[in-house]
């Protein structure tokens, strides 16, 4: 017994006991809280999807309730609408098929994209019409760009630039309004944050490309292709 006592374990028995107890404690806390955390993450995405597809103003000030895959929006004016959002298996970090009401017509797709921005990872959602021909909007989930410069990509005026841009050719970044007006695919870069704007466009292009060939692949065996 004393060989064990003054052996390595003997001296550090307090550490072993603490490690064991804390391991159990942490696992218990994790099990109790992780469903709530998943729920939070999922809720944040679910709350943004309607805004992405129906346009910002439609959901302005609306109260959104989420039950599983059914999202009901009660806008201040006009009648409530219900959307079902189903997560599709896809190579993008996440792809959701959004359709009207319980089993209505497909309204559009929302895909999630992640890549290295200027300072750190940029994680965003891209909304596409049902036939993936047009971008209906983007929403930045999280980013660590330089405050007051790069983090302009979160503001609604920058996001609104992406609405309605066709997706048949990749987006480009115009340094200023004139350059941006030249081609329908050009976005006017944020002043002083061209790198961030370019990375956002890069992520949107990659995600849209992946979604298009995946959806194009699915649509063949589905019904008509517009």
């Amino acid at each position: 017994m004393d060989r064990l006592r003054n052996s390595f374990l003997g001296q550090a028995w307090l550490i072993l006991v603490l490690a064991g107890v804390f391991g159990a404690l942490l696992a218990a806390v994790h099990l109790r809280l992780s469903p709530r955390i998943e729920e939070n993450i999922r809720a944040e995405i679910m709350r943004e999807i309607p805004g992405l597809l129906l346009g910002g103003e439609a959901v302005e000030g609306a109260s959104i309730t989420i039950e599983g895959e059914l999202v009901t929006i009660e806008p201040t004016s006009g009648e409530p609408r219900a959307l079902t959002i189903v997560e599709q298996p896809s190579s993008t970090p996440a792809l959701y098929r959004v359709s009207e009401g319980e089993s209505g017509a497909p309204l559009g797709w929302v895909a999630r994209g992640q890549d290295h921005g200027y300072a750190d990872v940029i994680d965003l959602l891209v909304g596409l019409t049902a036939d993936t021909a047009q971008i209906t909007g983007i929403y930045v989930l999280n980013q660590k760009e330089t405050p007051a410069l790069g983090d302009g990509i979160v503001r609604s005026d920058f996001r609104s630039l992406f609405v309605g841009i066709p997706t048949d050719s990749p987006l480009t970044v115009g340094r200023d309004a004139a350059e941006a007006a030249k081609s329908p695919y050009a976005i006017q870069a944020l002043t002083g944050a061209t790198v961030s704007s370019r990375s956002v466009c890069q992520i949107v292009n990659d995600t849209v490309a992946v979604v298009r060939n995946e959806i194009a692949g699915d649509v063949e065996d589905h019904d008509e292709r517009p």
Partner: protein
Amino acid sequence: MTFLVILLASSTLLLLAVFMSFVLGWANKAFYVEVDPRVEQIDAVLPGANCAGCGYIGCTDYAEAVVNEGASVALCAPGGESCAEAVAEIMGVEVEETWPYRAVVHCGATLPQRLGVNDYRGERTCTAANLVAGYQGCVYGCLGLGDCVEACTFDAMKMIWGLVQIDYEKCTGCGACVETCPRGIISRIPFKAERVLVVSCSNEDFGNDVRKVCTVGCIGCGACAKLSELFTMDANLPTLDYEGAAVEEGDFEKSMEKCPMESLLYVGKPSAEDLAATIDEELPGRVEPDFETTVDQAEWRG
């Protein structure tokens, strides 16, 4: 299901802890560096000011030197007697006679006694003033800007009338001032008695060159050396060998009278007459700064 996950988590951590304690235990054995326990004991006894007065980088360094290289047990100036005895007793060595080392300034000229002092508007530090030619007549003596006062951690130095004065109750001989003085006119000498004679000048010129720049500088005439063999003239300056000869017994009365420039001073405990002279003076409550005498620290750029 949940019970299994909790078990898995705590067992992973337990496994990691066991693995780590084994690795550390093995490393403890494999990398064991036998440290002489006496080094720690001595280190605990030393004051720990890391003042390098003993000539080593820090107290732990000195402790190792005492144990491994047999350095003398009494080099710790701030520690003084008590520390030397404690270290000796740890080492099992009896303490040979030691004297406290103290700092001494080899310049005796206050501001009015220096000649050719110019109006210096540069940085108020000795290191900076030392770079400027023509700061004052004498190129060897004290600049009076207080780098040593700044460096002294025992608050034993005061700048009075442009010349640094050392308060021997507080001075521990740590040697910080010796290093910082850009002109190197402060030295550490063993005080074998309460009052020790010091040559209060480091001007190596001769005769009139000294008189042109200072009214109390030693002109190197050698009168003191003729009268007492303890002095040895070197570069027009009498030097005393404090380590060797019994400097404290030598009677320097005659030499001090003969010295034309009164560059020989007794430093240390104030003598009986000095104390008597100032005993009845009333210490002023608040010292009002009169601008003629004090070198004002505040920088005023005209």
